[in-house]
């Protein structure tokens, strides 16, 4: 008994402190993990990530997205506790290492979280886009959801890399070029559609002509059958002209009254 007491007295006080810190850290970490898991479940995250590729991969490993994120937060706290314990215990050869790790750990944590969220959101975007395009039976259309997914993942990866302090300038330039191309392409492709929609809003609000009126628009004379945001349907004997609304606006409208 006395021998044991002597042995304990030999051990420096810092070690007790370090051990206590470690235990408190582990308990806190596990608790935080549990709380996070509950919180994420309450927030409806499992439903939100349902069906994404990431969730399915996690399922095949016998875990889930929520569990992974909760575990990550637990490990982060435990990691901090270990570092604190090391610094308190003043293990000299670990000191230099722990200083760098301490500064990097939170960033790494945020980077991993951002990356996981990026992948999950990317998967979800892919699902949503492909859902919207389901009605279009065109094989080439399947590329669009993929593009949307990888765009999101790419941005997430950029943010994650930026967090860890990797040089990302070249990647950002690439992203800018890509974004510019998308905007330019969209603007060029939808120029007429946007013009039609703008004219369509006016036509729908003011209704200079309505369904059943006889009109002459852009050289076509007939009875108005339908006016929507983009086009006007005008019907003559056996022919139905579908005119874009911007043409209606540019060329003017002739209302015909007998």
């Amino acid at each position: 008994m006395a021998a044991l007491g002597e042995l304990l007295a030999e051990v420096p006080n810092q070690l007790f402190l370090a051990a206590a810190l470690l235990i408190v850290g582990i308990v806190l970490g596990v608790l935080a993990g549990r709380v996070n898991q509950r919180l994420l479940t309450r927030l409806g995250v499992p439903d939100a990530v349902e069906g994404t590729a990431f969730e399915r991969t996690m399922r095949s490993f016998g875990t889930s997205t929520v569990a992974v994120i909760a575990n990550l937060s637990a490990w982060f706290i435990i990691g901090v506790a270990v570092l604190a314990a090391v610094s308190v215990a003043q293990v000299s050869y670990l000191q230099a290492l722990s200083a760098r790790v301490t500064s990097l750990l939170p960033q790494l944590f945020v980077a991993v979280i951002v990356f996981i969220v990026g992948i999950v959101v990317g998967d979800k975007v892919e699902l949503l886009v492909s859902e919207r395009l389901k009605g279009i039976k065109l094989p080439e259309v399947n590329v669009l959801p993929q593009i949307a997914k990888y765009s999101v993942v790419y941005v997430a990866a950029l943010i994650a890399l930026g967090q860890v302090g990797v040089q990302t300038l070249a990647l950002i330039v690439l992203l800018a070029a890509y974004a510019f191309a998308v905007v330019l392409f969209a603007a060029l492709a939808t120029k007429d559609l946007v013009a039609s929609a703008a004219a369509g809003v006016f036509l729908l609000l003011r209704q200079p002509y309505g369904i059943g009126d006889e009109v002459r628009v852009a050289g076509e004379r007939g009875v108005v059958q339908e006016v929507d945001l983009f086009v006007t349907h005008i019907e003559t004997d056996g022919e139905e002209h579908v005119l874009p609304n911007h043409a209606v606006f540019r060329e003017g409208i002739v209302l015909i009254r007998e």
Binding site: L204, L205, Q207, G210, I211, G212, D213, E214, V223, V224, Q225, E226, D228, H233, E235
Partner: protein
């Protein structure tokens, strides 16, 4: 095999096609396999393709009258080229329960065609719009106004021509509004509808173009069952002059009728839905 099994089995003897009306997935699997083995054409008729059948005909409305349902299915199959005149088809139908519990065997003939399928599929207006209007009219027929039966007339499709050939009875309450028949607001407005006189005009894409419309078609040569009133006569006549279809709620007997090409195509009782 007992004699009764043999006798009933004759129903399935020497047939060309098998029609399943709303089968469950296990029933669908069983019967499609059987049909494949005996090299029959098999198709499903249901409100939605929940069993992912290869050949599927969408029922726009759960017709309570089994004959209407079968007619629709057969006409649809003929329109798709699955059936030809003279083919013998066995129909499996759910009459009393959700399972298939009745077998109907019939020979496809021109007289089976009542035009129900054409009413939905081959009209100018979109099938979904026609279905929405029909549902609206059924609802109106069920509720009436303060328990009193009401009448209504909806002209669907070819709205330009219909508007051009009719005149307003009063100010159009739907002017500059953009209400479509499928919108949820329409059910709220239902009560108001019954108060309005004249016809409602609905465009191909389902926009409610006008109410209070006085139709002026010439009724010459329109042949509809005797005893139907002026509302039905006007409805039938409009469908002859234009490419529209008409859905009418009768004030006197409370039935919903649909006209296309000046002919009575469909007659149903709103109380059954």
């Amino acid at each position: 095999m007992t004699p009764i099994e043999e006798a009933v089995g004759d129903f399935a003897g020497d047939v060309d096609a098998l029609a399943m009306f709303g089968p469950s997935s296990s029933e669908h699997e069983r019967f499609t396999e059987a049909a494949d083995d005996s090299e029959l054409e098999a198709f499903v008729v249901a409100p939605e393709n929940s069993v992912s059948a290869d050949e599927f005909i969408e029922l726009p409305l759960e017709f309570q009258d089994i004959r209407d349902r079968i007619r629709f299915g057969i006409e649809g199959a003929m329109g798709r080229g699955l059936l030809d005149e003279g083919d013998v088809v066995v129909c499996l139908v759910d009459v009393f329960s959700d399972d298939l519990d009745a077998v109907v065997r019939l020979r496809v003939s021109e007289s089976l065609k009542s035009g129900i399928y054409g009413l939905f599929v081959n009209s100018r207006a979109e099938p979904a719009v026609i279905r929405d209007v029909l549902e609206l009219v059924i609802e109106l027929g069920k509720k009436g106004q303060k328990g009193e039966p009401v009448g209504a007339l909806f002209v669907v499709g070819d709205a330009g021509k219909v508007m051009n050939k009719s005149r307003p009875l009063s100010y159009n309450p739907f002017e500059k509004s953009h209400v479509h028949v499928g919108d949820s607001i329409v059910t709220v407005m239902l009560k108001e509808f019954s108060r309005l006189d004249g016809a409602f005009v609905i465009s191909d894409e389902g926009k409610i173009v006008s109410a209070y419309r006085y139709l002026e078609p010439s009724a010459e040569g329109v042949d509809i069952p005797k005893g139907l009133g002026t509302r039905h006569m006007a409805a039938a006549a409009v469908t002859r002059d234009t490419n529209a279809i008409c859905i009418v709620l009768s004030e006197s007997d409370g039935l919903v009728r649909a006209f296309k090409g000046a002919e009575l195509v469909l007659e149903l009782d709103p109380e059954e839905y």
